[in-house]
């Protein structure tokens, strides 16, 4: 029996990173906030580098609560999109080249978003990860958490519900 040889690692990485970059860089608001994503296999970590324009309380100083919420919402949307696009990226149904040329897949729509502020956001980089707790044909539930210096001391957590995009017919 002859097994298909595994794909070269650089091909696999190139395809996954191109798909992720297309997904993230296509959204102006994500670029405006300066959010980037780090990928380890299928696990994503959102990174929000500190910038003066993100300050909400200049006396403390602290990050704007809205920025923290937007950061968590972005982490949730990208992680959710990534989870349902992953299979198509892997089996070649979704071509990263067409993505980079602006043919982006439809994104899920936020139905509701609840954020708890646990600690004030310090004027430094922040990180977030999201977990899809339920992903159905129409609705999805996602949880997200953001932290700064210490992973065990989250600055905010969120729960969100999304309306899934209809598959292209």
């Amino acid at each position: 029996m002859v097994r298909k040889p595994p794909e070269p690692v650089q091909i696999v990485k190139q395809r996954r990173d191109a798909a992720l970059a297309a997904l993230v860089e296509g959204v102006p608001y994500i670029r405006y906030l300066g959010i980037t994503f780090e990928r380890h296999g299928d696990e994503l970590t959102a990174v929000l580098p500190f910038d003066e324009k993100l300050i909400g309380n200049p006396f403390l100083p602290a990050l704007h609560g809205g920025v923290t919420a937007a950061f968590l919402e972005t982490a949730a949307i990208i992680t959710l999109s990534w989870s349902y696009l992953w299979e198509d990226i892997e089996n070649g149904k979704l071509d990263p080249d067409t993505l980079t040329h602006g043919d982006l897949p439809r994104l899920p729509k936020t139905i509701d978003f609840t954020v708890d502020y646990l600690r004030s956001g310090l004027p430094r980089d922040a990180y977030a990860r999201a977990r899809v707790t339920r992903s159905g044909r129409r609705y999805a539930s996602v949880q997200a958490e953001a932290w700064q210096d210490n992973r065990d001391r989250p600055m905010a957590q969120a729960t969100a519900h999304f309306l899934m995009p209809r598959p292209k017919s």
Binding site: P28, I55, H64, G65, V67, A70, I111, V115, D116
Partner: protein, 140 residues
């Protein structure tokens, strides 16, 4: 007294770097009520296919407006911080239109302020989003 509070709250909101960066303008404030508008900007687009602005930008506007409502309440000694905020998105905001948020601090205790807020585009009969949240009451 209340007029002073409104002035202080207005001054405070106007020096928030992120509120300034988004072009937010206070159009009304006082007695636990606040109204803030945010102009449409291409940088805030969340869906490049349609030009609809990102939910996160609407969240930021609602959070700022809610905080302003708390600060302008007669029983609020000074500053505030968001404890929690829930936002329901009713529909996509129409591309090209400014977003206006109305917030009301409808109850306040020594430690907690409760706020409701709504966001609209040019169609004031159909909210784009609604929000409900709890805020801290900071001593002077």
């Amino acid at each position: 007294m209340t007029a002073d509070k409104a002035t202080i709250a207005k001054q405070f909101i106007e020096i928030i770097p992120h509120a300034k960066a988004l072009g937010m303008q206070i159009t009304q404030i006082g007695d636990g009520l606040a109204e803030i508008t945010m102009p449409y900007d291409d940088a805030l687009i969340g869906d490049p296919k349609t030009g609809v602005i990102h939910g996160g930008a609407v969240s930021t506007l609602m959070d700022t407006c809610s905080g302003a409502a708390v600060m302008s309440h007669p029983d609020s000694p000074a500053g505030t911080a968001t404890i929690n905020l829930r936002i329901d998105y009713m529909r996509a905001a129409t591309p090209g239109q400014a977003i206006t948020a109305h917030a009301e601090c409808y109850h306040i205790t020594r430690n907690v302020a409760f706020v409701r807020a709504k966001a609209f585009d040019a169609d004031f009969d159909n909210p784009v989003a609604t929000a409900a949240g709890a805020f801290t009451v900071e001593a002077k």
